[in-house]
């Protein structure tokens, strides 16, 4: 069958397509969706070589900000390094690099770094070397491919980026090297590899590893290797942590697109709560991180050349702002290649536009940075006013709500903590904590009263129950004595609707009685079912936040499907099979019998609903047991009821139950099959229709 897909391409010759409401800046939420965000940085200016009056840049590949004062721009296409000061005036242009009296061509360089001492390090990819020069262009050293027994001849040394640490160790990223960065000493001697990406242990990886054990040598050679992805760029912050960025790659998937490495090369950013890169729901999207920059406070800026966007993370790896974009406007890029930080400005180099774009931190951005700084230093109370201001300016900033909830929790203001935890749409941990504290506080305050109330209530219930039973017996015996009633047991005259409750305690008696005396009440059964439906609705909407399902999108149809419809199906299928198997039960009887059996489950469901307001998530296990117990209880009632109703032995009951399940599955299978067919037929006709429409009209 030919698959025909139609694509509608609107051809707009005019380039400018203005958006009505789209705003470039956005942010990801806890639940993976994204929403509009107030801008933390706004593009204010851009500079190209012509504006700086030094002639056009020619596909510059890197820039580096030295001590928040000087901008070094590697304009390798023009074989020069341009130095700008903080006001974007040209300080000097280094277009002569001399080594031992001879001019050195740097046009093959891709990366630039300036050490604290002020030496320029150029990663010359084309010539397989790292050039170390002073600020006048006098080359001090040229470091070539290091010698080590580890390197076979096939290993190439293609330095793309370079940096040094405070001890003077040189780190070099070489193209096509998956081992991590080369660590070299000042003389260029090889010290080891640093910080290679780990291969994520996924099910696929484990499976392949297992297969490998059983494979022959030839097969093994043909199997894919799990080689870690090389990282695309790195940066060092003032405190010596090295940050690496890795472009998105599907084989193998890298979870840590951004890492913060300690001197041992270990990643200290947790991956647990973070999404790295652009992660739209359900759509494959490439985030091509080409550069990364980190400031003294640990804020991380990663540059995505695919979408031309800058991703800002705080020092715990929390994604707090996304800005930039691709296009031909200020603040958008064609080929973004490098990023660095200059005070409260972000500089982005575009090698196709041949310019530097300057992003200035906005008022909102200032609040954000200052607030998060205090917060991440543990000065939570001081950070609070910042967050309050932040959410006033941007209600979509969920992380601020979360931070406020945590802060209030720390301050002991659990009421506020609970409120902001709810607003933060986070997983509910803080909410749970706060709720527990609130409950405990309340209990502590009112302990005496609560205790007394509980004791009193228990006594009262027991006493009443006793009195009622005694009274009832008295009445019964009096009635028998007076000949008003026969000796038909206490419950002989019991109203039909009371049976469900009676069966709870006396299942065998109850069902037997019910069958013998034809005491079925469809009304009672249907009421129980109604209560079940209601419970199901309440469980979606009104259970406490702590226990709420994350998938809150539920329609009435779904509710009915999971309750009444499945119930009806079971009853009907059971009736069908049992009629074939000499069962004595009629359809309404089975209906009532099954509905009655549900009573414990429904009652406990309501109990759970009430308790959800008292209990916290940690104590959920209690509620789970409660529901499980009630379910078992209901199930046993169900089996018992059916066996009595149909006059089956135990084994036959179980067999009939098994058949019922089987029958239900078959029916469900057919429904799925038919609905699938209907959808296919519908889409077939729709495709034919649209084909005709677009070809004929």
């Amino acid at each position: 069958m030919k698959k025909v897909i139609t694509l509608f391409l609107t051809v707009c010759i005019a380039l400018a397509v203005p958006s009505i409401t789209a705003k470039a800046d956005y942010r990801y939420n806890e639940n993976g969706g994204n929403s509009a965000a107030q801008s933390a940085y706004a593009a204010v200016k851009n500079y190209n070589g012509r504006q700086l009056e030094i002639g056009d840049f020619t596909h510059p590949s890197d820039l580096y900000v030295y001590r928040d004062r000087l901008i070094f721009l590697l304009d390798n296409g023009s074989n020069r390094v341009v130095v700008l000061n903080e006001d974007f005036a040209v300080e000097k242009v280094l277009d002569h690099f001399t080594y031992e009296g001879e001019a050195l061509d740097i046009s093959g360089a891709k990366g630039i770094y300036v050490s604290d001492e002020g030496f320029l390090y150029l990663a010359d990819t084309q010539n397989s070397r790292v050039i170390v020069a002073d600020q006048d262009g006098k080359v001090q050293r040229v470091i070539g491919r290091p010698d080590s027994v580890l390197f076979t001849d096939s290993v190439t040394f293609l330095p793309r980026n370079v940096l040094t640490d405070s001890a003077g160790t040189i780190y070099v990223i070489s193209e096509n090297s998956t081992q991590g960065a080369y660590m070299l000493d000042q003389e260029g001697n090889f010290l080891g590899f640093y910080g290679r990406n780990e291969v994520d242990v996924t099910a696929d990886v484990l499976f392949q590893a297992m297969l490998r054990n059983f494979a022959t040598k030839e097969q093994r050679a043909r199997m894919s290797n799990f080689i870690p992805v090389e990282f695309s760029n790195f940066d060092v912050d003032p405190s010596g942590f090295i940050y690496t960025a890795t472009a998105y790659s599907s084989t193998p998937e890298t979870a840590s697109m951004i890492r913060k490495l300690n001197p041992l090369g270990e990643n200290i950013l947790s991956n647990e709560y973070h999404t790295w890169g652009d992660a739209p729901e359900g759509i494959y999207y490439r985030t091509n991180y080409v550069d990364i920059a980190a400031d003294g406070n640990g804020f991380i800026f990663a540059l995505d050349s695919y979408g031309g966007r800058i991703f800002m993370y705080d020092n715990t790896g929390f994604q707090i702002a996304i800005f930039g974009g691709s296009g031909t406007q200020l603040g958008t890029f064609q080929t973004a290649t490098a990023i660095d930080i200059l005070g409260n400005q972000i500089l982005v180099l575009d090698s196709q536009k041949n310019n530097i774009t300057v992003f200035q931190r906005t008022d909102f951005g200032n609040l954000l940075v200052n607030g998060l700084n205090l917060y991440n230093q543990g000065r939570m109370e001081e950070a609070l006013p910042y967050f309050q201001e932040l959410v006033k300016m941007d209600a979509n900033f969920f992380y601020a709500y979360y931070a406020m909830a945590e802060t209030y929790y720390d301050m002991g203001n659990y009421k506020e903590a609970e409120k902001y935890a709810l607003l933060s749409q986070e997983s509910g941990e803080t909410y749970s904590k706060a709720k527990k504290m609130l409950r405990n506080d309340w209990l502590r305050e009112h302990f005496a009263m609560v205790f007394l109330l509980v004791v009193f209530a228990a006594f009262a219930i027991m006493a009443t129950a006793k009195v009622v039973t005694v009274k009832r017996r008295e009445r019964y015996w009096t009635a028998v004595k007076n000949g008003e009633r026969q000796m038909d047991g206490f419950y002989g005259k019991m109203a039909k609707w009371k049976y469900p409750f009676y069966i709870l305690r006396h299942p065998v008696d109850g069902y037997q009685e019910m069958k013998n005396n034809k005491k079925y009440s469809l009304t009672a059964a249907n009421l129980i079912l109604l209560a079940w439906v209601l419970l199901s609705i309440l469980n979606w909407g009104y259970i406490d936040y702590d226990f709420k399902s994350r998938f809150t999108d539920v329609s009435l149809f779904q509710v009915l499907l999971t309750t009444i419809l499945i119930f009806a199906l079971v009853v009907v299928v059971n009736w069908c099979f049992c009629t074939l198997m000499d069962g004595k039960g009629r359809l309404p009887e089975i209906w009532c019998c099954c509905a009655y059996a549900l009573l414990p489950y429904v009652m406990c469901g309501y109990l759970r609903l009430l308790l959800s307001y008292l209990m916290v998530y940690d104590e959920a296990v209690f509620l789970t047991y409660l529901v499980m117990l009630s379910a078992v209880w209901s199930f046993l009632l169900f089996l018992l009821g059916l066996s009595i109703l149909h006059e089956y032995s135990l084994s036959k009951t179980i067999a009939s139950f098994g058949l019922t399940v089987f029958g239900v599955l078959i029916v469900v299978f057919f429904i799925v099959l038919i609905s699938g067919l209907v959808v296919q037929i519908y889409s077939f006709f729709m495709t034919v229709y649209s084909e005709i429409r677009y070809r004929m009209l």
């Binding site: 139609t6 609107t10 051809v11 005019a14 906005t362 006033k392 209600a395 009209l697």
Partner: protein
Amino acid sequence: MKRRRKEIICLGLILGLLFSALSMDCVSAEDGEGTPKEAVQQTAKGFEKPSDSYYSMKVAENADFELMANENGTVAVLDKRNGQLYESNPREEDPIAAGINKTNLQSQFYFTYTDTAGNVTTKNSQTECVNKGWLTYSQIENGIRFTYDLQGAGLEIPIEYRLEEDGLTASIVVKDLVEGKEDLAFYLTDISLLPFLGSAGTQEDGYLVVPDGSGALIYFNNDKSVYGAYSQQIYGRDSALITEKLSADSEVARLPVFGLKKKDFGFLAVITQGDTNATVNAMTSGTLNSQNNAYVSFRYRPFTKTTFLQGNLYATGGNGGSSAVNLTLSPVIPRVEAFSVKYLFLDKKDLSYVDMAEAYRNYLAETCGLTDSVETGSSPFYLNFLGGLRVEKYVLGIKSSVLEPLTTYKQAETILEHLKDLGIDELVVKYTGWQKDGMESRIPSKVQYESRLGGKKGFAELMDYAKDNGIRLFLDFDFVNLYRSGNGISSYSDAAQTVGSTPAYQYTYDYNLLIKKDQGRWKILAPAKMTEAVTALLDRKDDFCGAQLALSTLGNSIYSDFTHKTDGIDRSDVKKIWEELFRLGDEGFDCVMVDNGNAYTFPYVSHIYNVPLNASGYDIEDEEIPFYQIVLHGLISYSTEPLNLNAMPEKLVLKAVETGSSLSACLMYADNETLVDTKYNQIFSGNYETWLDTLSRDYARTKDFLRQVSQARITGHEKLMEDVYRSTFSNGTVVIVNYRNKAVEVDGIQIPAMDFVSEEGGMQ
């Protein structure tokens, strides 16, 4: 008998001679088919010699100008006041241009056409007509008409030039345009008119003015041509054409103008006919040629291409399957007489964009009677209230759509009281989403107050409060977006359609991928139904409780209806409908307000909310200028974008001062969190309490200055240094605004960081 015959022959000859003498200046196209070159040579004699010997014909002359032309289609206007010659095509050989770019320079227009297979081709008039000798011309009153016979494309395009008192009007005569000659199945989609009129070479200083947002300048030879040309549709894109993917955020060109300035002269071009179908283009020297030029191109016929992918797409790595392209042409084409551009040639010492804005202002006053509606000494603060919004909520655990009140009528009063107490004494309020079902209501042909916001009674109370306190309140009506049927409008039969006769759906776009989201789409009302819907409302003025009329969406969106049915309509015709409706609105009400209004609304409105203060910042642009504001200041009262949604409100306040704009805010009573899960979540800071202090402070800061200049025109605007600007008003007030983070000194006056200094009667 023989004699008689001779007599008849003689008579015939005489008549024939007479006839040919009479039709001397009217060389017909039918001659052209046979021996065109001969015909051209014959007719050159019909004109006088022009003052510039480069041209062969003097077409027309008046007090200030002389229009001349050549047989090859080139035209020029001589400005006799300064001797400047504006030529349609540069004379000198271009060192950069090659191939088609070389002949482009010699062309009077480019045209784009498509065949039935969807191949789009752009060619120029030089290679396709003039070089082949298929150009003919005839004299018209005060001008000349060239008929370009583009036989290769089966097209015939007549172009007229007419000299007027203040300049030149160039028109593509749409009504005489012929398509599909000799059964050639080509369809004209776009024409770019006079791409190089008055263009400047690499040695000249000056700039191009483009209408992007508030306006922008492109300096000659700015070496940014590699970034691509400026190209922007006037009045934004046609929302009846569906956009699959958004390009980056940009402002919309609201004014149908562009300009070119050389040292002491230049022109402002106003697109007088077909502005709805126009795109303004501007480019600088360096890449294609060595000219700096701005021009307009007109969209004649929109189309969509449908690609059918066939076969298994996933075979051979996604490259499997073939594709067949199907072209769907718009069934509607513009019914305007012509696409016309009027070039107003300006002559002034140190001409600037301010003079161009003035020229445009005068043009508006002359042609559509734009007069000032601003009161003296007024400095209103604009408020946009958000009334209600339907949101998905859980009622008894089941999702359903309920109205969430954002600002009830009573709460609106509370906010107004607060602002008044804080000293904001002059308020203009636009109330959005006040009606039944809130912001996403039915088409509002009736005035239906929402009971959950307070009902009609509640609104009457609000109006009483407003009247007592001199607050002007505008009810905002959205006639464009069609969310649901009702009020006599069906969302099935009354929705505008896109090319291909499916509803012209409107979409929200994903933030990261910028592609449209299929869920939550809505439709727009067919323009043919608009008159009926709006007039029905205007007839119910009594239900307004004294409130005024705001037509936000009608003022900033204009769109076609590409339906195959008889009521398919092009944007150019829609503009006439819109104008008529605004005229009726203006007649029925004291004041009419729009939101970031297009130029066609100017004659009828007295308030414009949310006027852009920025351009889109295209890479080719060099400066942002407040062109829109310079045109309108003192004529129509207008406001900035809402302060509370801006990332840099402080800068916005300064911009307001620089441009004489009133401040504005978009507020609601409800908590900020209310809108978080809705598609309005870009209103991330609407709660009024958050902003009371800031707004009152900013208002107090700007009030006196704005009052002082409220009725004055802006007569000067210049950039003194980076981030320091000076505006001069017609009453002599001068303001210097400093956007820097440090103080600056201008002419001995100290301007603190991020502040302004104004002085009455000017500064020395």
